[in-house]
Symmetry: C2
Subunit: 456 residues, 2 copies
Amino acid sequence: MAQKPSIPKGTRDFNPEQVAKRHYIINTIKGHFERFGFQPIETPSFENSDNLMGKYGEEGDRLIFKILNSGDYLSKVDDALYASKDSTKITSNISEKALRYDLTVPFARYVVQHQNDIEFPFKRYQIQPVWRADRPQKGRFREFYQCDADVVGSASLFQEVEFIQLYDAVFTDLKLEGVTIKINNRKILSGIAEVIGASDKLIDFTVALDKLDKIGEEKVKEEMLSKGISQSGIEKLQPLFSLTGDFASQIESLKEILDASEEGKKGIEELEFINNAISELALQTATLQLDVTLARGLNYYTGAIFEVAAPENVKMGSIGGGGRYDDLTGIFGMKDVSGVGISFGLDRIYLVLEELHLFPETISKTVEVLFINFGDAEALFCLKAIKTLRGKGINAELYPDAAKMKKQMNHANKRQIPFVVLVGDKEMQGNSFTLKNMETGEQETLSLEALIARVQ
Amino acid sequence: MAQKPSIPKGTRDFNPEQVAKRHYIINTIKGHFERFGFQPIETPSFENSDNLMGKYGEEGDRLIFKILNSGDYLSKVDDALYASKDSTKITSNISEKALRYDLTVPFARYVVQHQNDIEFPFKRYQIQPVWRADRPQKGRFREFYQCDADVVGSASLFQEVEFIQLYDAVFTDLKLEGVTIKINNRKILSGIAEVIGASDKLIDFTVALDKLDKIGEEKVKEEMLSKGISQSGIEKLQPLFSLTGDFASQIESLKEILDASEEGKKGIEELEFINNAISELALQTATLQLDVTLARGLNYYTGAIFEVAAPENVKMGSIGGGGRYDDLTGIFGMKDVSGVGISFGLDRIYLVLEELHLFPETISKTVEVLFINFGDAEALFCLKAIKTLRGKGINAELYPDAAKMKKQMNHANKRQIPFVVLVGDKEMQGNSFTLKNMETGEQETLSLEALIARVQ
């Protein structure tokens, strides 16, 4: 085989440094999930196709990776159907399982399947890979991790308050200061659509509004007109385009606009509750910002909508998002279970921390001490010391072969191992160890106890 | 949907307690992998099928889960081939990717693909799920984790010594005392086959020998005879059937048997080196045992072979295994790279720890304090205290709704939360907290500082 082997496009190998960095983020998130009372669950990588298909729209169905049945799978395809050579129709006959597309549908399935064993409200977190047959591009992969926390079984707005604090806690801990937690409420969007007489055009309306930042007020209005929203309706929107000031003053403007909509007023009330609590509790490094143009996952969320933006000096899409959905488990026949949840975008957070040099320097230095190998007798002497070091929690190893000294020292350098220990005849006789600091070049001969103290 | 949704056979959902227990094992293994100088890598869940097919034998090929190509995949199948309706032949035309079957082949692929960036000897560990379309049965799943550590690029026998110590360290840390680390050497088996004139029947010979424990000496001899091994050859085996005593005395018997085989003597030499080093270094709770009937993965390993047996009072297959393979990366065209590695059987270790009640009791108590919710004002007061607790590393949460007191207390009980905090008017006025110990029923009113001290 002359050519080097490769991996499928859109997938990645992670080297030790990358794994260490990814787990630094994951462990930080996980720590705060648990601090906030969330409990971990894990679900299988593949689900019965029936559980996934039709849950993410037509586009989603196409992007789900299907697993071929085992054995002589074609023998089970009806001859007439087979003759059609119709990939779409034949798929469900030769594939019964599919890789999970997100963690939300498997979670809903889990809740319904195990409802009798679950104590509600149920606060779960889940950090596992998902797969999408999307066109790979910068920052978009076919296999990637989702880090989700959700609560089901409680409509309390304190959950939203908790999730905002959770975002703040995680990003503060990651030293990523200055993130903006944008919040909106589906009821506000519905209310506005109602007020301007476009309740039947809610999607068109929000899609256009969502572009305000990018294309500006005039173009947004043009798009709305072209979608059939009336001139008089758009005029009523005017205060929306000039929403400024802090959370409280934006709320005041919204109250004017939405005075005629019960649903809109409910949305305002919810936002006020959340903002008041957050003001009382105070965030550490993040800012909560009302953004009425925020509309993610509209046909899914029913209350609060969240999206987290990286600090202003970094160009990056959202690094987290979530919201409330009043009927999470309805797709599996369990009605009226309200849920609210958030997600952290691991890959994008990684890129942001990398760009801002926020990963701790020591993160990938896994081995602290390398013992040089001068021969079998010396090596065995070293292994005894290494055993003691490891017992003290120090990561240590022996160079496995009695290779040339230079080669062994180079190995330590390339792996950025901070300390090297040299043991020859003299050391063995004196039951001592020569410790070399690879950064300063300093060398000293020490007892094992002193060596341990120096390295720790 | 009347019926509850389900998951594919052979797969599992893990609830919070199970996840906590699994991660307890994984984190223990991981900690020692790093203590011994291994570095983590991760590879994609699916590989190009070419990288996997043909690497695990015919049976293996059948058990690999194949992923269906996206889009109109049937249109790319040649009409004549399609007409054959031959599942085996058509598979490679409609499926280019497959779920990984183990971590060893992906690791070999990784080493070859990234050889220019790797500093050898390369000590890597990898803890990820693998998938096999095996018939599910007790303890055998279609999705399960492997926990592997391997070194490539060094033929030093100190690696074998290190791996034995690593097994001992992990099982000691898991409080699983009394495991037996069985060791053999492929060269010993080859040597014996050579000595009895059955080098061409090595597989038949070892398959029969492997059954000694189960079917006894006479039946093993019968099987060997039936496979064409000569009567005189079998007579030469006699000392093998009565190998007793400790490692050193078994070695002495083997020396007699294998006197005529160079390869056999090499195997003995390797075993002696390893055993001498282990005697010097001393294991903590495990025992190293020579087992010449041990033959796992014969067409794969070339030197040492390991298998770990649970303590004698537990009925369970091997809970770990491994060995040396002199040509790991040869399948991807990179020659002469010696590797040696071991694996931990997560699912079986889990069952053993469960049976022996060795999981720490506190493992799944994720929340330490639940604050009872008496209304919005009280809840907000509590959230401020909760924020402080979390800052001190205490897992704490607020019951989200102002439900009946009894319901909230029941929730704490069912989730085995050890402390509950009650805050009413009196507490708010006095800036104090009533802490209830859910085990003893004791209740005391405390300042926040005193509460933190009590809970920590």
